[in-house]
């Protein structure tokens, strides 16, 4: 429509020049390999040749006990990893942000800066530092628990099958709490003064003000945090690899899709690496993440009411 009303102009080369480098790198290094990986998952290496096998790799992944046990275990662990993040990271993040945004709070800048520190550290540092702290050899954790009279509850969490995954999830929560805190804090600051004043005129203050006025207004931000957490969790690898190694011990109890993909792709110890099975696992991760993003875009985001000020 608009094009017809405008006078015809010469081809604008500069648009192409501006777009070309980004498009080229992005397409060549990101989109094509992604498509290539999806395609590889349909092939298998038979006598040095890539042969099209349809969905056979997925049949192996779900049907062959050598693979399916590990796959479902990794998926289950990954779901638990995500649930812990949603239940612990986001509520604490919202609470910290709500406290930080209270008017005329002193030292707010200091708290903000300090609580964000773990987020900028690499997984290698975080994983190892916590491994040392929780280590029964060093004894810092039992010593600290002794101060509050809880020493009897101490066990080497990272070494016990039933606790290791939860402990690692909480370490990851510790590392990333800064992100929900900052995003919610930003959302809370953007609520106009008039809305708060109107609530106060109606006698709504304190906690009920938070629940009735502020929380509904920051729901879209909570939605964004949830989807960021989802994508990040189902793509996680580094923390588990640093703290527990590629075997995600003890006895695969901390194995998540990222570490499973790494082992399948590269092989580990006696198992030989198989790029095609690696691609099949990456495809499953792609579908899971895509599914989550679609649920968010089409079900959650459209139902959240956005308020324009």
């Amino acid at each position: 429509m608009a094009a017809e009303t405008r006078p015809k102009r010469p081809f604008r080369w500069h648009i192409g020049v501006f777009l070309a480098p980004a498009l080229l790198v992005y397409t060549a290094i990101m989109i094509l390999p992604l498509a290539g990986t999806l395609q590889l998952s349909l092939f298998r290496n038979i006598e040095q040749h890539q042969v099209f096998v349809g969905f056979d790799n997925f049949r192996t992944l779900f049907g062959d006990p050598n693979w399916s046990v590990n796959f479902w275990n990794a998926l289950r662990n990954n779901v638990w990893f995500f649930i812990i993040h949603m239940l612990v990271q986001n509520p604490i993040g919202v609470m910290l942000a709500a406290l930080l945004s209270s008017p005329r709070l002193r030292f707010a800048a200091f708290y903000r800066t300090a609580i964000f520190v773990p987020t900028i550290l690499s997984f290698v540092i975080v994983g190892f530092a916590w491994k040392l702290i929780l280590s029964p050899l060093w004894g810092v954790a039992p010593h600290l628990m002794d101060l509050v009279g809880l020493k009897s509850f101490f066990t080497p969490w990272l070494g016990k099958e039933q606790y290791a995954l939860t402990a690692l999830s909480l370490i990851s929560v510790w590392q990333f709490i800064g992100i929900p805190m900052m995003l919610i804090y930003a959302a809370l600051l953007s609520i106009p003064e008039e809305v708060i004043e109107a609530a106060e005129c109606d006698g709504i203050t304190g906690m009920s003000q938070f629940w009735k006025i502020k929380l509904p207004l920051i729901l879209p931000s909570i939605g964004i945090i949830s989807i960021l957490t989802f994508v990040g969790n189902f793509n996680a690898f580094d923390l588990i690899y640093t703290a527990q190694g590629a075997l995600a011990g003890p006895n695969y109890s901390t194995d998540i899709l990222g570490t499973f993909l790494y082992r399948a792709f590269f092989g580990f110890q006696l198992q030989v690496g198989d790029p095609n099975m690696g691609a099949a696992i990456a495809t499953m991760m792609f579908l899971i993440i895509l599914g989550g993003v679609c649920v968010y875009l089409f079900l959650v985001q459209t139902r959240l009411r956005r308020y324009q000020f």
């Binding site: 500069h14 020049v17 501006f18 777009l19 480098p21 980004a22 790198v25 992005y26 290094i29 990101m30 094509l32 390999p33 992604l34 290539g36 990986t37 590889l40 609470m95 910290l96 930080l100 209270s102 008017p103 709070l105 002193r106 030292f107 708290y111 800066t113 609580i115 964000f116 520190v117 987020t119 900028i120 550290l121 690499s122 997984f123 540092i125 190892f128 530092a129 040392l132 060093w138 004894g139 810092v140 510790w174 709490i177 900052m182 930003a186 953007s190 106060e200 203050t205 304190g206 989807i227 690898f237 580094d238 640093t242 993909l261 792709f265 590269f266 690696g278 691609a279 993440i289 895509l290």
Partner: protein, 279 residues
């Protein structure tokens, strides 16, 4: 301002919770740094006290500097991060300018295509990326890492920068056009300087994941020549599991540059986040 928001118990409660959490956030970091300056006996007997003349010892640092080639790893990380950052910012800003300034067919579609990468992590393409790098002979080169990180950083950079470029006044650009400036001059001379603050935000967001990444150095460039600090630290820590002095010193050496940079730039970073750059 109502009385309720100013009442004393409420303020004390808020400070108590925030202070508790600040301690939780900082304690592991401080613990590692403090103990890295102690002798082995000091680390185990008094982990929670600062080093005294009796327990002060730099043996850990000596081991790290003697054993690991950390200066070299550090250089690699620096080269990779700075180069990727440069390309992300340059290419990202150019694409963002094209998308926000000109109306052309396929504009929205192009925006969506580039936005795809914000949600879908590049790691999922690793299998094919490795094949591509093997085929082009780029395995174990820093170029491979720079290419991957440039692709990884571009989507978010384009998204954030185009939001900011929409705010640059049209009158200014049109004045430039009337004065006969080319589109390239308008971009480099007029628009880029005006969006510099948002470039800083994008830079921080892009830099942290690149510097901290373990996955791609491990897969694409694990050789001794191309190791980054993160990978080097990981392997070093794996080898020296029982040498606590060396481990604590290596961890502290890895923490300190990031921490110093963060303290310098935290104001900018936090302003960037809270100005609604990420929505």
């Amino acid at each position: 301002m109502s009385l309720a928001t100013r009442s004393l118990p409420r303020t004390i409660g808020a400070h108590a919770i925030l202070l508790t959490y600040t301690v939780i956030a900082l304690f592991p970091v401080i613990l590692v740094i403090v103990n890295s300056f102690k002798s082995r006996a000091g680390i185990f007997s008094e982990p929670l006290t600062p080093p005294t003349p009796k327990t002060f010892d730099l043996i850990g640092y000596n081991t790290v500097i003697g054993q690991g080639d950390f200066i070299h790893y550090f250089q690699n990380s620096l080269v990779v991060t700075v180069a990727s950052l440069f390309f992300v910012l340059l290419f990202g800003a150019m694409a963002a300018f094209a998308l926000s300034e000109y109306r052309f067919r396929g504009n929205t579609l192009m925006g969506l295509y580039l936005a795809l990468g914000i949600m879908i992590p590049i790691r999922l393409g690793t299998v094919a990326i490795l094949q591509l790098m093997v085929a082009s002979g780029l395995v174990n080169t820093l170029t491979a890492l720079i290419l991957v990180y440039t692709a990884q950083g571009l989507p978010l950079a384009v998204f954030i920068l185009s939001e900011f470029m929409k705010q640059v006044s049209d009158d200014l650009k049109n004045a430039g056009r009337i004065d006969g400036l080319s589109e390239y001059t308008i971009f480099f001379r007029l628009v880029l300087p005006l969006v510099r603050p948002s470039m800083a935000t994008v830079a921080v967001f892009t830099m942290i994941p690149i510097w901290n990444d373990l996955w791609f150095p491990l897969i694409l460039a694990p050789s001794e020549e191309t190791k980054t600090v993160t990978l080097g630290a990981q392997l070093f820590l794996g080898q020296f599991v029982t040498n606590w002095n060396a481990i604590l010193a290596a961890l502290s050496l890895a923490i300190m540059p990031v921490l110093i940079l963060y303290v310098i730039f935290s104001r900018q970073l936090i302003r960037g986040i809270t100005s609604g750059a990420v929505k």
